[in-house]
């Protein structure tokens, strides 16, 4: 059963430079506008209970797509069918009246989102409890701080109990603790089988919450499917075209034209359970798997693995030789693992580079980059790496 079925959705905006141009066009029946395409032939299906993340750069058409899905604007062409009660959090608190009390606004806003009076009365208590605004709920909302404002709005919007929930960047609500509550509630929604559509710049959140991801680029679908795959494609795209190419084509550094004796098939990040990962939190364990294939008979060589930033700066590097290990025997297909018990970087992204050299580490046989690894961290420290530290004041 499909909750959302979108076929070739396109959205064009007519942009008039002066308001007068609109009149001129209406009277003269001659086009006086320029057409701006913000969405082009976007198609996807979302089954009930699935979660979809929408990613893309600014101006990629994410918000336009969400607005169309929420029903506040209509596509210029294409078909859209939706099932069930849809609640959209495109902007928190857009229906609030500043002069009214929080309690009155709960009633107004919930009614706006489609609840009946009886449903609102039933939920009023839990909305107030979730927002933690018991003390000030009868004050006009104009006296609220902006944090209190969005807390109330989020509590109302998610209490609607929709079949499909559409969220636009709304989860960075309030302080860390409340943000966590919001994420927990979203996860609760997902676990109870609701359909969720989220648009966010936080790859971490998309990765946590969504099974499927849609990557929009200049209004077109640039990639869709399994979240981890799409995110790594997107991150690779963001980090620049040169690196993308480097990671896609095996770099043949051996004598020109010759097939290297050992080819590095892939370099992958994994968690301790051997699952491929694209993101990591600081201090989690990490394993780097290098899969190799030997093109001749046996080959004795050394392996080097380095972790680099997007700009190529090496953060860390190690080789089998420098660790005093004997040369590795490559024959047929072989996987080498480098395990890192505690990942030390705080934020940013990095990629691993694997390199195979001969026994004397004089000749590079083959080298290859991994897909980028996103580091997500809640640590309050700054910079690149984490150090054990203590303040004495």
């Amino acid at each position: 059963m499909n909750a959302i079925c979108a076929e070739n959705l396109s959205k064009y905006y007519r942009v008039y430079i002066k308001p007068f141009d609109r009149l001129k066009e209406a009277l003269l029946r001659r086009p006086c506008h320029s057409l701006v395409t913000s969405l082009k032939e976007v198609s996807f299906n979302l089954a009930k209970g699935e979660t979809l993340g929408i990613i893309g750069e600014n101006g990629a058409g994410k918000s336009t797509l969400l607005k169309i899905l929420a029903g506040t604007t209509h596509p210029s062409s294409g078909r859209l069918s939706r099932e069930g009660r849809i609640a959209a959090l495109l902007e928190l608190g857009s229906g609030f009246h500043p002069e009214f009390s929080g309690r009155t606004n709960i009633h107004l806003n919930a009614a706006l989102l489609g609840l009946t009076e009886q449903e609102i009365r039933e939920r009023e208590k839990s909305i107030i409890a979730f927002s933690e605004l018991e003390a000030v709920i009868d004050r006009p909302v104009k006296t609220y701080s902006s944090g209190m404002y969005v807390r109330l709005a989020f509590s109302i919007a998610t209490s609607v109990d929709p079949d499909v929930l559409i969220v636009d960047e709304a989860l960075s609500v309030g302080d860390q603790r409340f943000a966590q509550k919001c994420v927990d509630r979203m996860v609760g929604f997902r676990n109870s089988g609701k359909t969720i559509i989220v648009c966010s710049h936080s790859m971490f959140m998309i990765n946590e919450l969504c099974e499927k991801t849609l990557w929009l680029n200049h209004g077109e679908v640039n990639g869709s499917g399994k979240t981890s795959t799409v995110i790594s494609e997107y991150l690779a795209y963001l980090e620049g075209p040169e690196l993308t190419q480097a990671s896609q084509q095996p770099t043949v550094t051996a004598a020109s034209g010759h097939v290297p004796e050992v080819i590095i098939e892939s370099v992958e990040f994994s968690d301790p359970d051997q699952h491929k990962i694209n993101y990591i939190k600081m201090s989690q364990p990490l394993a780097i798997h290098v899969n190799t294939r030997c093109t001749t008979g046996d080959f004795m060589g050394h392996l080097a693995i380095s972790i680099e930033k997007a700009d190529g700066q090496m953060l860390f590097g190690t080789t089998t030789k420098s660790q005093g290990l004997p040369a590795v025997r490559f024959s047929g297909e072989r996987q080498v693992e480098l395990s890192i018990p505690s990942f030390p970087f705080i934020k940013g992204s990095c990629r691993a580079k694997a390199l195979i050299a001969d026994e004397n580490v004089l000749r590079v046989i083959d080298e290859r980059y991994s897909d980028p690894l996103l580091i997500e961290s809640e640590h309050p420290e700054f910079g690149m790496i984490w150090m054990d530290h203590a303040w004495k004041c």
Binding site: E99, A111, L115
Partner: protein
């Protein structure tokens, strides 16, 4: 698509009453007088008219034409409904523009906004009108024809709704209407037999009275309240204008509704 408008307030009761209370409280938000102002303002207006026309000018009308000698009675009979109408129309220019944030961000039955606004305008002005009726009754004007008043008012509300919906939708695209509306309403008032009995208009100008859609409503109020006659042809004419205005307003709204979110 027309039935939807009548049904909407009943279908979305909570939201409708929400908009109504928002409209009422929003008007007097932060003021201490609150609803009292909706009585004080028309009362003050009445007193001004009484002072100017009855005390200073001492204008007397022919009871044969208007059913009353008092110019103030005549004036208020037509002016009070007109004020309700013009208030609603004046507010309509910013009705959808002011809700831009809501229209672009939340999918909700927008039909409720104009219906609630007109409902509120007529209720609040109705308070002043009821005061006036009480005054009239004290002066001995009460009559059985007054029972037609609710009918006239409902038809008048439908007429107003049509105009309001049309102007509110049009204003989204042509913002200049906001600037022009005040002048149009002033001009319109002087072209409507409110400040003068319709009989005083010269024969050559009667055409303009005939095509003025507000005229039958004002005349209905005049006749019912003061002359105590009720003319069905006039009600038919008024209802005709109401249906026309409503159909045209809703037609334009339906045509342009989908573009609101893009333009706002």
């Amino acid at each position: 698509m027309f039935i939807k408008w009548i049904k909407a307030p009943f279908l979305h009761k909570t939201l409708f009453w929400g908009f109504v209370s928002q409209e009422i409280k929003g008007r007097y938000a932060g003021s201490m007088g609150g609803l009292l102002w909706s009585i004080i303002t028309p009362l003050a207006n009445m007193l001004i008219f009484i002072f100017v026309f009855s005390v200073v000018f001492k204008i007397r009308l022919k009871p044969v034409e208007t059913g009353t000698e008092s110019f103030v009675m005549f004036l208020l009979t037509g002016l009070l409904p007109w004020i309700a109408f013009s208030e609603a129309v004046a507010a309509s220019t910013g009705m959808f523009i002011g809700k831009a944030n809501l229209i672009t961000k939340v999918a909700f039955p927008l039909e409720l906004v104009p219906t609630a606004a007109i409902f509120v305008t007529f209720i609040l002005n109705g308070l002043g009108f009821i005061l006036f009726l009480i005054y009239l009754a004290f002066e001995g004007y009460a009559h059985i024809t007054w029972l037609y008043l609710p009918v006239i008012t409902v038809v008048f509300m439908i007429f107003t709704l049509g105009i309001v919906v049309l102007i509110a939708s049009l204003s989204v695209f042509v913002r200049d209407i906001q600037q022009v509306m005040a002048s149009i309403l002033t001009l319109w008032m002087y072209l409507t037999p409110i400040l003068y009995p319709v009989q005083m208009v010269p024969e050559s100008m009667q055409f303009f009275i005939k095509i003025n859609p507000v005229n039958p409503f004002v005349e209905l109020y005049h006749q019912t309240l003061l002359q105590h006659v009720f003319s069905y042809p006039l009600l038919g004419q008024a209802a005709g204008f109401a249906v026309l205005s409503f159909i045209f307003g809703v037609w334009f709204y339906n045509k342009s509704r989908n573009a609101f979110a893009d333009v706002l």
